[in-house]
């Protein structure tokens, strides 16, 4: 809502407050002023001048040579505007004048003739182009005859006015009118409100019933409809002051009738509509739901196809207006209009909102109906418009109003009392304090000791509950005056849950292992939602969860894997020459077993990582090392080691992954994710170098986590270490051999590590050598050499039998 400071002054005494000071006060009391703008940049030395003569320039067709009286002197001015003419009163920038944009006016010679100043257009005076009436968009501005020659124009044209831009939130429909703002400012400043004049002299010779009747078929959508009849209007420009205020409020003046309806809309917050009575098509107004596929050509020239969700004004035959949203083209007020049928009505907010959504037509009118207008201001607004039509359009207002009326105009009653208010606010207000706040708000009340029965004016439709009144009292009292206290309720122990702690610990671990945390979008595209899905997810998800109305193809589906977006991030960085990266993200994927969603999908917490480029940089005592499978596996192993969860890895093929370099990760035979290298084809497609990833289901990992590990005694007896190197066929997996060693060596073998892998010279073709170190330990005694030797031999025999392996000497 744009509020003109000068206009507001007509209703409330603003004292010496500057527009900026007033804005700060309004903001602090609850309606945020987003900015203060001036109608025009300051100009100097521009006055009203009288064009005494106007002739063609002898040497230029498009220029006129004017003699202009500016009071103290007469100036010869050459003017290029097409609409300049003898007898006009115009805005003259005298030599020495400065116009907006620091445009200095000097004496010049144009085609050999002296020009001593400039006749100005509104645009040249700094008014925004979109508010300038279209008929003078290309020309100079012409003042009404009563303007005084020599008078400065800035006040006449309201150029010095400040406009406050208010961000009115959904609850404060009252603040969408000058009167509403006036009540608000009056409460803030503790001042009275001067209400506008609505008393109109009517023509008693006829009554409105002679001209029109009103019938409403959908009373629940239109509880009040009033029609006024104004005869013999003369269409012309509205008075300058009205045009000034409309332009300040962001509305382009059109003609007196349209301007008056707009002016009253802004003043009262009540939308009005003026029909050309003679083109209305009947003497009967019928308000009803539109018929399916009925059409109406609205003011903007567009044909609208309607449904029974829309409410229409008809002439008994066909729609003439879309109720509360926009009038029809056929009955529009035009230059030849003489008789005006004026509508002041109350339309249901939800119906208007639906129509706006359906048609995309949002107007000053619909905005106000959508938020709810004041039921007690509908008739008053109609009367006010009639008065202005009489004053500024020469209209004769016919007595009476054709009405349909089932409007509820009763005021809401809210009970408040001093102790309750103080308890809720933490204040120590007195009953008198509260009474004075109610007076400032101009709310009627009955007081009984410290109890108030408040009659809330209907302009404040947002107040229905004690809490609403609590806010009113608090904001006028001033939020600044509330004390600072802390809750006195019994103390509680806050804190994180085990799961929340675990999430933090897992993040800390992988970060310590060198990975950088990322945050990517949950919504993804059709290509990525199908990529890199962990096998156990792929088997339980039906189809990806999709948005009903996506904004773009890029953000259409809820992700089934974090990895695709993580890879996009790697590509993004690579395109910016950042090629050595280790990234991870912890977040949810969204799994639904349903193809038609009726339940919330399962939100599964996962951690995924993607690594590429150099992992260890070349240093003076260290070789450069690229990321490989075992870097990623090391991090994952480390994580499970840290969480003390036993885990196994087995070679598997996963879509989009390198078929020979991928393993699924299992906890107690349950797949919890996978690790490996991206498929080279996918790498190429994403413009990535060799890239390794991991992806783990943290729900399963956390389920396997033993939150309070029980104490295990530190072993007291010495351990014995033994190493074995086996010569094996190349295709034998080191892990399988390890498993056999562990099984056969149990319970004496405590730990098995692989410490060397050799393949090459000195070995038979197709063979490799893997060295294991075994740690023997008994919890209750010192092991004898013979016991160790016996187990050692058993292990060798078992490995030999199972893998056709022999010990390397």
């Amino acid at each position: 809502m744009l509020v003109s400071y000068n206009w507001l002054k007509k209703y409330v005494d603003l004292g010496n407050l500057t527009p900026e000071e007033l804005a700060a006060k309004i903001t602090k009391s609850g309606i945020e002023v987003e900015g203060v703008e001036y109608v025009a940049e300051k100009s100097t030395n521009v006055v009203v001048g009288y064009v005494e003569s106007c002739e063609k320039h002898p040497d230029a067709d498009k220029l006129n040579l004017c003699q202009v009286d500016v009071g103290e002197e007469k100036l010869q001015i050459i003017c290029g505007a097409p609409n300049v003419a003898q007898g006009q009163k115009v805005a003259v920038a005298k030599p020495g004048a400065v116009l907006p944009g620091n445009f200095k006016i000097k004496k010049v010679k144009l085609r050999g003739i002296e020009s001593n100043g400039m006749i100005c257009s509104l645009k040249e005076l700094g008014i925004e182009e979109k508010y300038i009436p279209t008929d003078i968009a290309d020309g100079i501005f012409v003042f009404p005859e009563e303007a005084t020659v020599g008078e400065p124009v800035d006040e006449l044209l309201n150029l010095n006015d400040a406009v406050l831009e208010l961000d009115v939130l959904a609850n404060r429909a009252d603040a969408l009118s000058m009167l509403g703002i006036a009540y608000e400012v009056a409460a803030i400043l503790d001042q009275p409100v001067k209400l506008p004049d609505e008393a109109v002299q009517v023509e008693e010779s006829a009554t409105v019933a002679n001209y029109v009747s009103v019938e409403v078929e959908a009373a629940e959508l239109n509880p009040y409809y009033g029609a006024f009849m104004i005869k013999d209007v003369e269409i012309k420009p509205s008075p300058l002051w009205m045009r000034n205020y409309l332009m300040a409020a962001g509305i382009r003046p059109i003609n007196n009738v349209v301007d008056i309806t707009n002016y009253v809309l802004l003043e009262y917050g009540q939308p009005l509509h003026a029909f050309d009575y003679d083109r209305f098509g009947s003497e009967k107004i019928v308000v009803r739901r539109a018929k399916h596929d009925e059409t109406l050509t609205t003011l903007d020239g567009q044909e609208r196809i309607l449904t029974d969700e829309n409410l229409v004004i008809t002439n008994g035959k066909e729609p003439v207006a879309l109720a509360g949203v926009m009038g029809g083209l056929d009955s529009e007020v035009a230059s030849e209009t003489t008789n005006v049928l004026l509508e002041a009505a109350y339309f249901d907010a939800i119906t208007v909102r639906k129509t706006v959504k359906q048609t995309g037509l949002r107007s000053e009118s619909s905005t106000r109906f959508e938020k709810g207008v004041d039921p007690n201001r509908v008739r008053k607004a109609g009367a006010r418009a009639c008065l202005l039509l009489q004053q500024y359009a020469g209209g004769k207002v016919i007595a009476g109003t054709a009405e349909f009326d089932r409007l509820d105009r009763t005021e809401k009653v809210v009970e408040i009392d001093t102790p309750h208010i103080n308890n809720r606010l933490g204040t120590e207000m007195t009953t008198d304090d509260i009474a004075s706040i109610l007076k400032r708000l101009q709310f009627d009340y009955k007081q009984d000791d410290d109890h108030f029965t408040v009659h809330v004016p209907t302009r404040r439709g947002d107040i229905t509950l004690f809490e609403d009144m609590l806010e009113e009292v608090a904001r006028i009292y001033g939020y600044d005056n509330l004390p600072f206290t802390l809750p006195e309720g019994a103390g509680q122990s806050g804190g994180l849950t085990v799961r929340q702690h675990l999430k933090r610990r897992v993040k800390n671990f992988v970060q310590g292992a060198g990975l950088m945390e990322t945050l990517t979008y949950s919504l993804t595209n059709e290509r990525d939602v199908k990529r890199l899905i962990s096998p156990e997810v792929a088997s339980s998800a039906a189809s990806p969860v999709a948005l009903a109305m996506p904004m773009s193809e890029d953000h259409k589906y809820l992700r089934l894997s974090i990895l695709p977006e993580l890879l996009n991030v790697l590509s993004y960085n690579r395109a910016r020459s950042q090629v050595n990266l280790g990234y991870y993200e912890m977040g949810s994927i969204f799994i639904s077993g349903q193809n038609e969603l009726s339940e919330q999908p399962d939100e599964q917490l996962r951690i995924s990582g993607a690594l590429t480029g150099i992992w260890s940089e070349q240093a003076w005592q260290q070789e450069k090392k690229e990321v490989d499978f075992y870097v990623v596996k090391g991090i994952v192993e480390g994580l499970f080691d840290f969480l003390q969860i036993p885990v196994t890895y087995s070679q598997t093929k996963v879509t989009d992954m390198h078929p020979g370099r991928c393993a699924v990760v299992k906890v107690a035979d349950k797949t919890v994710g996978f690790i490996g290298q991206l498929h080279p084809t996918l790498q190429k497609q994403l413009d990535l170098k060799e890239t390794y990833v991991f992806d783990l289901n943290l729900e399963e990992v956390f389920a396997a986590y033993d939150a309070v590990p029980s104490f295990t005694a530190i072993p007291k007896y010495p351990s014995i270490a033994r190493d074995i190197a086996f010569i094996l066929d190349k295709n034998v997996h080191a892990g399988d051999v390890k498993k056999v060693i562990e099984e056969v060596g149990a319970p004496l073998v405590n730990r098995v590590d692989i410490f060397d892998l050799y393949q090459g010279d000195n070995l038979e073709e197709g063979k490799k050598s893997i060295a294991y170190s075994l740690l023997y330990q008994h919890p209750e005694k010192t092991l004898k050499d013979e016991e160790v030797e016996e187990s050692y031999q058993k292990i060798i025999a078992a490995v030999n039998e199972k893998f056709n392996a022999y010990v390397r000497s």
């Binding site: 919504l523 969860v545 948005l547």
Partner: protein, 344 residues
């Protein structure tokens, strides 16, 4: 014999002084004090002495032994020390060469902000709660006093999946879920961080996905001044003890009265600058007293219980605190951005 012993001592001490290696010292020790050493040899002749002379010579011999032993020990220690010094000198390295590199990872800036806020409220007795990102219409809107047809729940603003399911537009549904879980009986304090989604085109100040943290306190006799005091503590911890806060009336369907909180601008110290658009204040969060209808739908009797709630955007806080000027930075994950803030 006495002369013999004294000569032996003088001779030994001179040799010890002249020695430069530990090995030689050991030879000297053997030569004088060993089983076949000179001193032993001299002492062997003691048997020939008279009964009166024996203790006298014995004492002299002991003195000689002690003197030689002490000299040997002192010289050994001196030589060992010299040897150690030499070794250490040889072991000297170039400390200006770089150390073995450690791979440095770190958290995302938003995680840091969220954890900082979590820890701050945990310190004030709050628990941390989470909820689903795909919410029901009921919890996202209806339970928060946003019935169907409410202007604030425009279909255009939310990502619906079905008529009843959508991506949550705020973390407030966690408030509703918590109230339901506590069944209208238990006072509680909680905060709920998480991802939320709105139909916004991504630009410098909008993101279709962003982070939110909301807080809720429900108890008997909760006052609006408690909200003011709590937010003041939060703001001072988060933005500095010298920050002032200001509450302004506002509107949210789930709170009444509603507030918006500004903090005094750090850049200009409240005098007005381009960061605060000349007002001296910067908007940080919204909140208010829990709307009676929200309490009621959560199972709490609004005649008995009251509460306050607040909500804030970690992105905005990070932008203000660290001068990040484009919200897309948080989701682009440019390594050069992430590295600037992982220690934050």
């Amino acid at each position: 014999m006495k002369e013999q012993l004294e000569a032996l001592q003088a001779d030994a001490l001179q040799r010890i002084a002249a020695t430069e290696t530990i090995r030689e010292l050991q030879d000297i020790k053997v030569a004088y004090l060993g089983k076949k050493g000179s001193l032993t040899g001299v002492l062997r002749g003691m048997g020939k002495l008279s009964k009166e002379e024996r203790p006298v010579v014995g004492e002299i011999a002991n003195h000689v032994r002690t003197a030689i032993t002490t000299a040997l020990e002192e010289k050994t220690e001196k030589l060992e020390q010299a040897e150690l010094e030499k070794q250490l000198e040889e072991e000297t390295i170039d400390v200006t060469l770089p150390g073995r590199p450690v791979k440095v990872g770190g958290p995302h800036l938003l995680t840091n902000i969220v954890q900082e806020i979590e820890d701050l409220f945990i310190g004030m007795g709050y628990e941390v709660r989470e909820g689903p990102e795909v919410e029901t219409d009921y919890f996202n809107f209806e339970a928060l006093n946003l019935p169907k047809n409410h202007p604030a729940r425009d279909m255009q603003d939310s990502f619906y999946i079905t008529n009843e399911l959508l991506l949550r537009t705020h973390t407030s549904p966690v408030q509703a879920r918590t109230m339901q879980e506590y069944n209208g009986e238990k006072p509680f304090k909680m905060i709920c961080p998480g991802k939320v989604y709105r139909r916004d085109t991504d630009d410098a100040t909008h993101s279709h996905q962003f982070t939110q943290i909301e807080g809720l306190y429900v108890d008997k006799n909760v006052r609006m001044s408690d909200l003011k005091g709590t937010l003041d503590k939060f703001a001072k911890k988060m933005f500095g003890e010298d920050r002032e806060i200001r509450l302004r009336p506002s509107f949210f369907p789930f709170t009444e009265p509603s507030v918006e909180m500004d903090i005094s601008c750090k850049v200009c110290d409240g005098k007005g600058c381009s960061v605060c658009k000349g007002t001296g204040w910067i908007e940080i969060l919204g909140g208010g007293m829990v709307h009676p209808k929200v309490l009621e739908m959560g199972g709490y009797d609004p005649e008995v219980y009251s509460g306050f709630a607040f909500g804030m955007g970690p992105e905005r806080i990070a932008m203000l605190k660290y001068g990040v000027n484009d919200i897309r930075n948080f989701y682009a994950n440019d390594i050069r951005f992430l590295k600037q803030y992982h220690k934050a």
